[in-house]
């Protein structure tokens, strides 16, 4: 009967692992930094969805309605003032969505680059510098984008772009340079006909890894099918309706027809909701699928019992399926579906956090074994 100790993967890390995954090595920086970025982006997204998103949409709708009523009353000042508010609310929403998306996507890219590090034909010191630059850029861009709404054009040397935008663009440039550098390193590796390094991450076929890989591919496919269906059935129809409803609003206002304006306003709100949930469901399904596949590769680094690794893999996949489905159902079931979607987001965050803690345990164990072996080499 296996003991609790033997149920944990306690295989001694190989020498190559101690080099590839050494403290502050490029792979460790990118892996821990990448999961940190994803976790922060997801927590930020959940807070944004609960406390800002719906309130913001209500404010946009109220100001659009006020602008339409201003047009009905023939008062262009009210119209312009309310559209200025709509612009400010949309900018607030847009920058927060961009912060959420870029933080998570840079986290994904960091995980991918972490896996590829053994194939990047640069010295470890160069790879380490690149990893630090990547992480600096990956934090700078979303923080800069978040601040755009608050900093605006204050003291900006450019007419249309503020300091926060400039900082964000610079962050993006850093990430771009590092990604290009890794591409160059990979190309040098393949061109030089070097022997592929042995990497236990890619050889792992544990049950948790297999479940995450298969579930991830299924989620990506589900997201693709939904995206294709939406593009074929609704996208162009929604675009036409968007224009037609705004035309009805403005023409109704010009003609003094209040019922036409009110009907168009109601339908416009519903249309925006339908567009948002479809796009969010498609994007989340694909992104969580990618996350599951990437986490499948890192399972050898997760120092938890095999049964717990399987459980957390299941929790992550459950949340990843539940969230996009419930987001889609929000149009029909309202806040109930929205609440379940937020709960599903929390499930993903908890599973990711558990895996991150497992990886931290592994790093501690690896560093302790390195310290022990170096002590044993000291002559008595």
């Amino acid at each position: 009967m296996p003991t609790a100790q033997t149920m944990i993967d306690t295989s001694v890390p190989r020498e190559s692992e101690r080099v590839v995954f050494a403290p502050l090595s490029a792979r460790r920086l990118l892996l821990l930094g990448g999961i940190g970025l994803i976790l922060t982006g997801m927590i930020f997204g959940d807070i944004f969805a609960v406390f800002t998103l719906h309130q913001n949409a209500a404010q946009v709708g109220a100001n659009l309605a006020a602008a339409a009523n201003g047009a009905l009353a023939g008062n262009r000042h009210i119209v312009l003032a309310n559209f200025q508010n709509v612009g400010a609310f949309l900018e607030n929403r847009g920058t927060k969505v961009d912060t959420h998306v870029h933080m998570i996507d840079f986290g994904y890219l960091a995980l991918l680059l972490a896996i590829l590090q053994p194939w990047v034909a640069f010295a470890e010191s160069v790879k380490k510098k690149l990893a630090w630059i990547f992480l600096a850029g990956a934090w700078l861009l979303p923080v800069g984008v978040y601040l755009i709404h608050y900093v605006g054009l204050a003291h900006s040397p450019v007419r249309t772009i503020g300091w926060a935008s400039i900082a964000a663009d610079f962050g993006g440039l850093l990430v771009l340079i590092v990604t290009f550098g890794c591409l160059l390193g990979l190309w040098m590796h393949f061109r030089g006909e070097r022997v592929s390094p042995a990497d236990r991450l890619l050889a792992d076929r544990s049950s948790a890894g297999r479940v995450l890989f298969a579930g991830g591919v299924a989620l990506v496919l589900l997201g693709f099918f939904h995206g294709a269906y939406y593009a074929a059935a609704d996208l162009y129809k929604h675009e036409a309706e968007d224009y037609s409803l705004l035309a009805q609003m403005s023409a109704g206002a010009a003609a003094g027809a209040r019922p036409v304006v009110n009907n168009a306003l109601t339908e416009y709100g519903q249309l925006q909701g339908a567009k948002a949930v479809n796009i969010a469901a498609h994007a989340h399904s694909v992104e969580f699928g990618l996350l599951a596949i990437m986490l499948a590769f890192f399972q050898p680094y997760v120092r938890l019992r095999a049964s717990w690794k399987r459980r957390w893999a299941g929790v992550l996949l459950l949340g990843s399926l539940l969230l996009p489905v419930c987001v889609l159902l929000e149009m029909k079931y309202g806040l109930v579906a929205g609440g379940i979607a937020d709960f599903a987001g929390l499930l993903i965050i908890f599973a990711l956090l558990a895996m991150w803690i497992g990886i931290l345990r592994y790093t501690g164990e690896l560093d302790a074994s390195v310290a022990c072996s170096s002590e044993s080499r000291v002559p008595q």
């Binding site: 602008a67 339409a68 201003g70 047009a71 009353a73 023939g74 008062n75 262009r76 009210i78 119209v79 312009l80 559209f83 709509v86 612009g87 900018e91 996507d105 991918l112 896996i115 590829l116 194939w119 249309t160 772009i161 935008s165 663009d169 993006g172 771009l176 990604t179 290009f180 890794c182 591409l183 990979l186 393949f190 890619l202 076929r205 297999r210 890989f213 298969a214 591919v217 299924a218 990506v220 496919l221 693709f224 099918f225 294709a228 593009a231 675009e239 968007d242 224009y243 705004l246 035309a247 403005s250 023409a251 206002a253 010009a254 694909v286 990618l290 596949i293 990437m294 499948a296 590769f297």
Partner: protein, 167 residues
């Protein structure tokens, strides 16, 4: 490393660099101007409605429609190029799990890469021409991606069942 994995990993990172460069160019030189046009044209159309000026109202609304159409597609192109690039890299890393002969795997990898490049390109071309050709290019590209991904998934499942049989 096999040829199919090289195609996916190198192609994926190159596509990510391309998608990010496009996003950076767009953020610096086009996005703020596009958002200004969208906001001002919509506000202009409602202000014209308040002035009971239908000609300006319609022209402003038309300007809004065109600007919004282009903006939505340009943001989609940036997001899809990078999203598909990450999919290519992640599949490239795990492509040894696809239990097909290397020739077929190379075919699937090429299908994924071509689809990942062409699908957003078709969407981008829609901003230049509203005709059926760009839409057909986008549909073809997405069909390549979905079909190749389905083929890869079938290869993974085949390996899983063969492994179970072997056990």
């Amino acid at each position: 490393m096999s040829g199919s994995r090289r195609v996916l990993i190198i192609g994926g990172i190159a596509l990510a660099v391309w998608g990010m460069s496009y996003g950076l160019w767009y953020a610096v030189f086009a996005e703020h101007q596009a958002l200004d046009t969208i906001g001002s044209s919509l506000a202009g159309s409602f202000a014209a409605a308040a002035d009971r000026n239908p000609a300006v109202m319609e022209s402003s609304l038309e300007q809004y429609r065109e600007a919004k159409y282009v903006y939505d597609r340009q943001v989609d192109v940036h997001g899809h190029w990078i999203g598909l690039a990450m999919l290519l890299i992640v599949l490239g890393i795990g492509f040894d799990r696809v239990s097909f002969p290397e020739r077929l795997r190379l075919f699937l990898a090429m299908g994924l890469l071509v689809g990942a490049v062409v699908f957003p390109l078709g969407v981008l071309l829609e901003t230049i021409s509203h005709g059926p050709l760009p839409r057909a290019i986008a549909i073809t590209g997405s069909a390549f991606v979905v079909a190749s991904l389905l083929g890869s998934a079938a290869g993974v499942v085949a390996r899983g069942s063969s492994a179970i049989n072997a056990d």
